[in-house]
């Protein structure tokens, strides 16, 4: 240390006031002992010690233990000029710590080498700075401060992350290192422009902007620029947003939109969106084709412009309804083109926030088929009516035929028999045996013809009369049938075996005719037996019952089984068994009309079994 570097100060001199009344704490301390030699009021006020207390302290006493080494180093260094230093921490009497900046200057005080110190408490300022720094640091955007020369003066943590450089690698470097070479010329131009006309602006929003990562990759960016005026003139604060994700999302969106619109364009169905102002917002290829327009002719035009007069169609009012009430609607619409062509479309209208979405399907060919089917059906119905009429006609003819038969054929027979009997009554007693036999033969023949006519009529009735369907109790039917046959059962020994019968759906009187016929057959063909057995049984199947009427009578040769159910077909002579051959034909007709089948099994002299089926009434819980 050289004494000549210390400027003298007179304690009583002009500086005294400056010292004592200065708002900044000031003191002078002994460089050797570090003892306070003089302190001003502001120091007393700031640190909480009285002047007397100060004089008992050394500089070390207002420092924290860990800072003392640094202090001693500093004391060693000679300070000829005023020196501004920052980053110090002082301890007050109450133990609290303040951040300070100090200006120090070595002086001779009362011939003692000392140092004059002015203290500025920057605790508050530091705290503010710290907060500001925190804000900058924690910003999700990269923030850079660039000076007029284009040098980077400040970066935050996000800048390091974004560009891959450490803070140290960036500070004082030209901004160019963060700009891809292909943009550097344009960037220079822009940078110059900015400094010529500094104002807030953002770039990258409208055009693509890229930064250069340390690894050479380009990063899509958006940048906000703010001019900042500070002591060094002005610099620019750049706020940088990495829009990689946003860009990717956007690209995905564009891709998805393309994908959807391609998909929609490939659809067979028309797809269109009509805006609330009745303008076409979107049409796919099919919709345009269905409307026989190009997409350009449709999109952004109103429906009325494209298809004048459409507003008076039913379809339009449905669309208006859908738009107004926000309710979906579906309809088949015949669309008439300006040239008069017509096509059918199935329209599904769906309200959407923009307006209405219309899905349209060309159903012209379906409609055509439907129409043809309808025509065909009508034709068919017509044909059925004609055929029915023809059938009715022939039925009527048949009816009037059998009516005539019943009247006109029976009357002469009655007359033959009537007059024959009158003849017999008048002259019978005078006739010889042979002539009496002749009269008897004529009588028998006429009676037989009467029976044949009756049978023929009954067959015709069975075939043509109306069926009155109801649930028929077959147990009752069988009892009644046997009861009706009581004349034939006189003097017969018959062992009956009759199952309990189910109820069936059918015409009671017809079914009774079936049982009477089959039972009387069984009775008739067992008349040679001492004891006849007749069994009536039923077997229940899935959908039907199989009924069986079995006897132990004469039976028949199965060779002729096919003739069994024919009209006037007989397998036995009248002398063996009487009959006209109409009974089984009637039975077969009735069973067939009930949707059943009938067959028989037999052996000569070994009885016969007649089987027939009837539909089963299903239980409700089956």
């Amino acid at each position: 240390m050289h004494l000549q570097n210390f400027s003298p100060i007179n304690e009583e001199g002009q500086y005294n006031i400056l010292f004592e009344s200065n708002p900044f704490p000031m003191w002078i301390y002994d460089l050797k002992t570090l003892k306070f030699l003089s302190v001003n009021d502001a120091a007393v006020k700031k640190y909480g010690y009285s002047k007397e207390e100060f004089f008992d302290l050394t500089l070390k006493d207002i420092r924290q233990e860990e800072d003392i080494g640094l202090l001693l180093d500093n004391v060693e260094r000679e300070i000829a000029q005023y020196q501004w230093s920052t980053g110090w921490r002082h301890k007050k009497k109450d133990g609290s710590i303040i951040d300070v900046e100090i200006i120090s200057h070595d002086i001779l005080f009362n011939k003692i080498k000392g140092r004059f110190v002015t203290v500025n408490d920057v605790t508050e300022k530091n705290r503010t700075d710290e907060n500001f720094k925190l804000v900058i640091e924690s910003s999700p955007n990269a923030i850079l401060l660039i000076d007029q020369q284009g040098k980077i003066k400040l970066v935050n943590r996000q800048t390091e992350i974004l560009f891959g450089y450490s803070r140290e690698e960036l500070i004082e470097q030209p901004l160019d290192i963060l700009i891809p070479p292909r943009f550097s010329r344009t960037h220079l131009h822009h940078q110059n422009n900015f400094f010529l006309n500094p104002k807030n602006r953002s770039i990258g929003k409208r055009k693509e902007l890229y930064g250069l990562h340390k690894n050479g990759n380009e990063i899509p960016l958006e940048i906000g620029l703010d001019p900042i005026t500070n002591e060094g003139g002005f610099s620019v604060l750049a706020t940088i947003t990495d829009i990689t994700e946003r860009k990717q999302a956007h690209e995905e969106l564009v891709k998805a939109e393309n994908r959807y619109s391609t998909t929609l364009d490939y659809m067979m169905e028309g797809f269109q969106i009509i805006g609330n102002n009745w303008r076409y917002l979107y049409v796919n290829n099919a919709a345009a084709a269905q409307g026989r327009k190009t997409k350009e002719e449709l999109v952004n035009h109103t429906m009325k412009e494209v298809y004048p007069g459409i507003e008076s169609t039913e379809m339009f009012s449905k669309l208006a309804d859908c738009m107004k009430k926000k309710t979906p609607f579906s309809m088949e619409n015949e669309f008439i083109y300006p040239n008069g062509d017509k096509n059918w479309f199935l329209l599904n209208m769906e309200p959407v926030p923009e307006g209405i979405l219309i899905l349209s399907k060309d159903i012209t060919s379906e409609k055509q088929i439907e129409l043809e089917l309808k025509l065909y059906r009508e034709k068919l119905e017509e044909l059925v009516i004609i055929r029915t009429a023809q059938l009715d006609e022939s039925n009527k003819e048949l009816e009037s035929f059998s009516y005539s038969v019943s009247h006109d054929l029976r009357a002469p027979l009655r007359h033959i028999i009537g007059f024959l009997q009158l003849l017999q009554k008048n002259i019978g007693s005078s006739l010889d045996d042979m002539n009496r036999k002749y009269i008897s033969n004529i009588n028998d023949a006429a009676n037989k013809m009467g029976n044949l006519i009756d049978d023929l009529l009954s067959f015709s009735r069975v075939a043509h009369s109306q069926m009155n369907e109801s649930v028929v109790n077959l147990n009752n039917i069988i009892t009644e049938s046997i009861n009706d046959l009581r004349d034939e059962l006189k003097e017969r020994k018959i062992s009956w075996k009759i199952d309990k019968m189910p109820g069936v759906l059918g015409d009671a009187s017809m079914l009774k005719q079936v049982f009477i016929n089959l039972i009387s057959n069984a009775v008739k063909y067992t008349n040679q037996k001492d004891i006849a057995t007749i069994e009536i049984s039923v077997e229940t199947k899935e959908d039907e019952y199989i009924f069986c009427i079995k006897d132990n009578g004469a039976g028949f040769d199965m060779k002729y089984a096919d003739k069994l159910f024919g009209v006037f077909q007989r397998l036995h002579s009248n002398s063996e068994f009487e009959g006209t051959g109409i009974g089984l034909a009637n039975v077969k007709r009735i069973i067939t009309r009930h949707g059943g089948t009938i067959w028989a099994q037999s052996e000569v002299d070994n009885g016969a079994s007649f089987y027939f089926t009837l539909k089963r009434i299903k239980d409700k819980n089956e």
Binding site: S402, H407, R414, H415, N447, L457
Partner: protein, 150 residues
């Protein structure tokens, strides 16, 4: 018998008339039978028209009506009788060869009092006719206007 009961037989078939009369003869009823040969004649008889203008003024005790007759059928005659205030109380028996259900139903609907199918067997026929004659002409108490004291 001191009452005059008439039986009207409306029948177009000569054989049937003859046989019917023969049957009634067995019960000595033949003389009381007036025969008409078709429906129109039957109506004329009942309304004292045409050749019946001067016939004795009494309604028959029973009318035996054949269904199938020329001009006016038996059912039509029946219909007119049953809708005529003066005639509707006369018992009418449908006497026919037909056992067709349609005719039967129609006959009863129009108000026939009986429906008899002429049996092919003559004995039976005679029995039937006799019974009819006996019942309607003798046993049954006819409505007023059908009887005239001799």
């Amino acid at each position: 018998m001191n009452e005059l009961k008439r039986i009207l037989l409306a029948e177009d078939d000569k054989n049937d008339i003859e046989l019917t009369l023969a049957a009634l003869e067995e019960f000595n009823l033949a003389n009381e039978v007036d025969v008409v040969n078709d429906g129109k004649e039957a109506l004329d008889y009942l309304h004292y028209n045409g050749k019946f203008t001067n016939r004795i003024s009494v309604n028959p005790a029973v009318i035996l009506l054949d269904i199938k007759m020329p001009k006016v059928t038996g059912l039509e005659v029946l219909k007119q009788i049953k809708s005529d205030e003066n005639l509707k109380m006369i018992p009418c028996v449908i006497l026919t060869s037909s056992n067709q259900e349609k005719d039967l139903v129609e006959g009863y609907k129009l108000g026939a009092n009986a429906y008899v199918v002429k049996p092919v067997d003559f004995q039976e026929f005679i029995r039937t006719i006799k019974q009819l004659g006996l019942f309607w002409a003798v046993i049954n108490e006819p409505p007023p206007m059908s009887v005239k004291q001799k």
